[in-house]
Symmetry: C2
Subunit: 316 residues, 2 copies
Amino acid sequence: MTVTDVGEFGLIDRVTARLAQGQSCLLGPGDDGAVVAAPDRRVVASTDVLVEGRHFRRDWSSARDVGHRAAAANLADIAAMGATPTALLVALCMPAELDPAWAEELADGLGAEAALVGASVVGGDMSGSPTLTVAVTALGNLAGRAPVVRSGARPGDVVALAGRTGWSAAGYTVLSRGFRTPRLLVEAFRRPEVPYAAGPAAAAAGATAMIDVSDGLLADLGHVATASGVAIDLSRDAFEVPRQMRDAAQALGVDPYTWILAGGEDHALAATFPGDAALPEGWRPVGRVAAGAGVTVDGAAYSGPRGWDHFRRTAE
Amino acid sequence: MTVTDVGEFGLIDRVTARLAQGQSCLLGPGDDGAVVAAPDRRVVASTDVLVEGRHFRRDWSSARDVGHRAAAANLADIAAMGATPTALLVALCMPAELDPAWAEELADGLGAEAALVGASVVGGDMSGSPTLTVAVTALGNLAGRAPVVRSGARPGDVVALAGRTGWSAAGYTVLSRGFRTPRLLVEAFRRPEVPYAAGPAAAAAGATAMIDVSDGLLADLGHVATASGVAIDLSRDAFEVPRQMRDAAQALGVDPYTWILAGGEDHALAATFPGDAALPEGWRPVGRVAAGAGVTVDGAAYSGPRGWDHFRRTAE
């Protein structure tokens, strides 16, 4: 059976039947628009798109994995503003020959990841397309706090990290060399573990700037440094190389710090805090903000690759 | 020059530089998320995707046209809930060889259409893709009113229409037969004229159900009839065939009522009102709601095509 056999409206019915609604959903799928609660009279909104062959491969990730990953990429953006995610909207473009079960399992993954933070899939659109594409918009609630933007880092601030980096990139390298193990790394690529609660916690603790690490720590902290007009220096010692990663790096002939410092898509959160602030739970110091420009590691320029550019990257 | 030459971040800078921000935008592009005003503690949200070769062709529509159309499809969904649009988010997937000017002109079209209702493009994402794809999410403000859903039509209600139907389908037929005129029809396909203000006006006047006519009047009123558990009968006499449409229909050998009753994408608004309600400005009666099921024309089943299904339709 293909999505063409089922048709647009048939598939919408099948998918929406699988979606449970969260508390913030005031009106769910099935109308021209959804209605979502925005308790403090503002809504945070972010969009991220995943394209087959570029962000995922169907032989590397199940539909459910892709759903988790697409949701995580968007929910992490909301968390990185200091907000709690409330809802997702999903535009799904599918080749005519796709099995409708793929779309249903994608919805299961999207819904399950959203449920981790009490959010839900409240609406979307479907279309045929030669290229399997999942575009997700996430909405979120700042609960009365100011959004934590990229431009607020000040000299003297501490740079801190919540969550892990390098795992998804390591899993990607493993898969791209034709291996399916170590399983922990491959699973990290398939389903990132995002420290969602660390975003609002950082906002409440007075974070001066925050970003979701999706393009790689050096690249994303580069965005913070540029937006804030400051320099950021990371301490390499702050990053322990986990055993599984060290072993895989050795076997594959890769410097594991390339994964840790330049690998994206784990969706860790990076933030800056005033130098005298107590870091909230889940955050650890990894560097300092100084006057100047650019991102360095132990005071020196980093010579490896710095991050992904989605026009140039291919998932091969 | 191609989007690959410019790179993801270069193109994002070029595009965001062209985007003026509306009053509802509290924080615009450039961070992990945008922040949009939601004055009554709720936000209406809707997503629609346009895929090249299926919803548009670059030899039929300019990038600016596609921007207008992508924005209109989404803004109309917000209006059809009875809300005023506040913001758009746009995921743009582009072939590597695309001229960056195409993306810039798309943004101009999106921004210009959004500006018609005081909204703006507040965020988005870009990716490479073999298939040019524009996924848009629109947000809107209900201003304290209840959303007007599809399920509220009651026997005895009047069915009313704001805006025009058949023009986009006529323009599509003209283009698909290899012609470029009549210009009025072709322009209607390229840039729909959506009666945005009629949505909130209908809500304020007590509309019992409302829908954006994107798949065709019969198909979309069919959704209202099904959701409401009622029958809808349209009066063919309520639909005058404009001269340009009549002439084109004759020349092309098409029944113009196929365009008017089954053609989508003009994004007219169709609504039901209590039988004794005075219709607000811009609305005209076109039929009645009765007990039963299904949509008829002058009491009889309509034998022509009833609407589009985006898995089956090709833009040829």
